[in-house]
Symmetry: C2
Subunit: 281 residues, 2 copies
Amino acid sequence: VTIIGIGLIGGSLALDLRQAGLAERVVGVSRSAENRRLATERGLTTETTNDLAAALRAADLAVLAVPVTAIVGLLPQVAQHAPDGCLVTDVGSVKGPILAAGDAAFPDGRFVAGHPIAGSEHSGPAAARTGLFVQHTWIATPSARTSVDAEERITALWRAVGATTLRMSAAWHDDVFATVSHLPHLVAYALMDAVMTLEQGGERVKFSAGGLRDFTRIAGSDPVMWRDIFLMNRAPLLQAVEAYRAALDRLEAAIRAGDGEALSRVFAQARLARKELGHRS
Amino acid sequence: VTIIGIGLIGGSLALDLRQAGLAERVVGVSRSAENRRLATERGLTTETTNDLAAALRAADLAVLAVPVTAIVGLLPQVAQHAPDGCLVTDVGSVKGPILAAGDAAFPDGRFVAGHPIAGSEHSGPAAARTGLFVQHTWIATPSARTSVDAEERITALWRAVGATTLRMSAAWHDDVFATVSHLPHLVAYALMDAVMTLEQGGERVKFSAGGLRDFTRIAGSDPVMWRDIFLMNRAPLLQAVEAYRAALDRLEAAIRAGDGEALSRVFAQARLARKELGHRS
């Protein structure tokens, strides 16, 4: 197995595949010498390299675990160097453009677009750990071109490392994650930016108890990963922002009008969302 | 000591005062029979009542620990029933209007406006616990009228239950907390409302991992308390919303323009805020 990108997701998957005896050789590919050193030191992979072509030469499976823009950029190179029959999958948080690029690079349908829902504010090989995917969901977003056999084998692999698996269209995936993941990150970044831009922003932040403090986990997330997600999922994200602005307008109008009942209606929606979450971990 | 409102804050303070031997009798006042029963059952107070006048008759100290609008409404009644020399303080999250009402009700300056920064998504007497204020900040917002002696004694009390104490003007307090506490709650409520209002909102929410999930703690907070805070701190909060909209505009424009560098600048601000927080628990 060749894992391209040995950060939190790639490194954790490498570790799980080895510990479960699912792969004899796990080759980690990274341009960062420091990340290669860390992956070796922590025993995430059996070997590491900066040479993509060499890493793919004997691969049965290639996993792209780099930021979404890099995945799209690398797919043609993976197609060029991976042997026939090598399955290819990715872990990107935006699926539409990746699925299109993967289908173009692998017309035989052996690219399976997927997304393990196991983010964290920690990133890099230092954050990788076993069991990261246990009781988390892995989502396959196959196209009409995707090989059923390839999808089944990749699905079995994620189940083997503890994930619950399901499938949905790439378009619905990108719409859903624009609202429940990308928008919340955007909202948190805007909040941090707003507070820091105000007079004595740094001084204000020191008084965060609950409230702002809950947003800091998000603000600690990998900035390159999020920049790429925001830019790649642009259209669904901007639609989500529009819905969010409408909700913000409703709240602001209620406050301006001193309308306690309207505020209570919004709070009730929030409690409903919380209840939905309670039914699923 | 008479504590009016025996929820998370009032109940925890009652417990601490008794356990530290700082008060022989702690009378809990609540209109809710259920809350009175819970306070008695959990041993938060030595006695409970619904009769404010009776509860105040022999009090050395009265603590108002109800939602901010109720504090303003109760201050004249406390002034009417509390004996001369009884100190009075509150725990409200908005200080300007409460300080004005307290100064009007107690022209001799024995009302000390204060705010313990120890919120939680849990509320009510069931959530009360010892040590809630340890290593948390209590803020006094005295006016020119506030008695220096009264302020010193109330400050000593909060120190005795483990809080770090400091003082600031009520105006600066309300401005700071509009940005680091009230705005984040408003932003979280707007987000939950936006997602739930979208097509298949409940279905979307089920896919929250990080991201939306981090906002649910906030959305579980006491709705009456937050309705009152939003309405009472209206002007500073609406100013904070304006700054927030500007930050949201910047982010949206950067995404629309595909401007990765502008996004990185916003992320850097967020990391700066996170760093500020790291210096203070």
